[in-house]
Symmetry: C2
Subunit: 358 residues, 2 copies
Amino acid sequence: MIDELFIKIIILSDLVLQMMKKFNVCVLGATGLVGSEMVKILLDRNFPIESLTLLASKRTAGSIVSAAGRTMEVKDADEATFEDIDIALFAGGELASEIYAERANRAGCVVIDNSSFFRMRPNVPLVVPEVNEGDLERHKGIIANPNCSTIQMAVVLKPIYDAVGIKRVVVSTYQSVSGTGRAAIDELKRQSFDVLSGNEVKSECYPCQIAFNLIPQIGSFDSSGYSSEEMKMIFETKKIFSDDSIKVAATTVRVPVERGHCESLNIETVKKISKIDAERLLASADGISLCGCSNQYPYPTPLTCANKDDVFVGRIREDLSCPNALELWISADNIRKGAALNAVQIAEALIKRDLVRV
Amino acid sequence: MIDELFIKIIILSDLVLQMMKKFNVCVLGATGLVGSEMVKILLDRNFPIESLTLLASKRTAGSIVSAAGRTMEVKDADEATFEDIDIALFAGGELASEIYAERANRAGCVVIDNSSFFRMRPNVPLVVPEVNEGDLERHKGIIANPNCSTIQMAVVLKPIYDAVGIKRVVVSTYQSVSGTGRAAIDELKRQSFDVLSGNEVKSECYPCQIAFNLIPQIGSFDSSGYSSEEMKMIFETKKIFSDDSIKVAATTVRVPVERGHCESLNIETVKKISKIDAERLLASADGISLCGCSNQYPYPTPLTCANKDDVFVGRIREDLSCPNALELWISADNIRKGAALNAVQIAEALIKRDLVRV
């Protein structure tokens, strides 16, 4: 009796110690849109930080990042050994991931990578915590953060997949310029001002004018005519759900919006689900806010989801053209849930599962 | 021999006379975006005009419309008898159509109506000339011009329908504010300026801010959650093709663009058609311009289709998620092919077929 109590106390103490443990964290690409949002989210969520190291390229090293009342100097990633770091959040783009991830791993640091560089590698889990947190158990030192458009779609597909199965998704995206980075936000603003003022418009970030226009090209095209963004949505979804039978048809489009990606989803399910049941299901699902009839408008917009954590869902309809299909409109902050927040949630899940090791 | 020649000459003379005939034309709603474009197109295309009468509500009667170097005074529609008019193009909205169409018909004037008021009535042909010009033969005095989003979709569906049949279309739209009218263009510009300047933003034309935002609501919602614009795309398509078996799933979205509607189409066909065959088919179809690999970008945008007559098609792909489906991106000037031009083309077809009578 006393022995049992003693064992329980030891287990509990271990848990408490684990929960109180603090970590040496680093953010690579800390001056970019996603990297600086990672810093903000880590501090806002009281992530158990022992030390926080900010890294970037030589070009921006030395600059100061401010978040949650703290100011921190950014250091040159080339000079980082990662030896004192437990968890590294990478938001420096594909090339930086290729260069620094293995160096970090060799130094014993777990990497959560926002780039597409490692995403489709078989030994790298591709994780949206609401969907496949369990995949973290088989990590070998690198965990990939999925593409922004894929993350928000996966969060919404998950409860539907579990309840009635999913055969096929036809998705058209409405993606904001912040997905391209800070320069694209400046370009949208500058071009908008130039159009309103009757000035000549110059395009640098995009193949043509984005202000008051639409560009149905995100990434480069392959020989079949698909863009790299569309192929990411198709293949990353299969990997996240560990189910090659989920079919996705994607058209990805850049729209003149600063922040927040929207998607029009047509989801063909295995079994039929009614509009009311789908609303009930999604309203109670992790990471989802439902915009229903009780809201001012029964739909989210980029403005209403900006700087929020959840994926917002509205306009749920039973598809009149197919016996087992739903139509819905979803919206999420592409910099938060589509990138920085999802990476921090992965880090939190690693800690909870005691998986902060290479 | 001489008799036969004589008959041929008589027939030919009749044809020449028919072609040389001029008509008394009127535009109702001539001060609006669509009405003033109708005036411009009639003059630009050398429509056989004997006289051109411009009508509008009391509020704008007396104002001057300028087009093709001519200035014309707009008269009060309430005072019009339509007795000297052969063809009336209506662009005054549903209420004006309800009030004036029968009055015009009684006076012997054929009405081509841009509003949705008569569209779904069984005895009113709903016509896109590239698709169902033949339906004009059964007109009883009123011909309806379809919804802007439906017209551009129907033009693109037609050659595919004829070649391989169509089972189901999943469409998501990206519709510019000019579809709402001139006040909405002003609102987009004013709001954009206010956002860039850090001023407070006010919304009058739309339920919420449209500048740098998206609004997935066009029209009002029914109890199933569909918007009136979406239901128009579903039911008008069936009527235009005289085929209730064509299934359409539509999501219609307003985007911060001044002019030009775009659509992401997923078309499930009865028989398979390859990307190359679809490109060949669409490149040679009436009213379509293909943006292929030889173009600077393999896709149209709202800016590239503005003030053009054709429906532009690009990004043709074989859908990887369905054995017999195509994905494509289309774009058209919603004020021209989506409204004013289609109405004028209907009038031209009525003349060609000698159907200018009630």
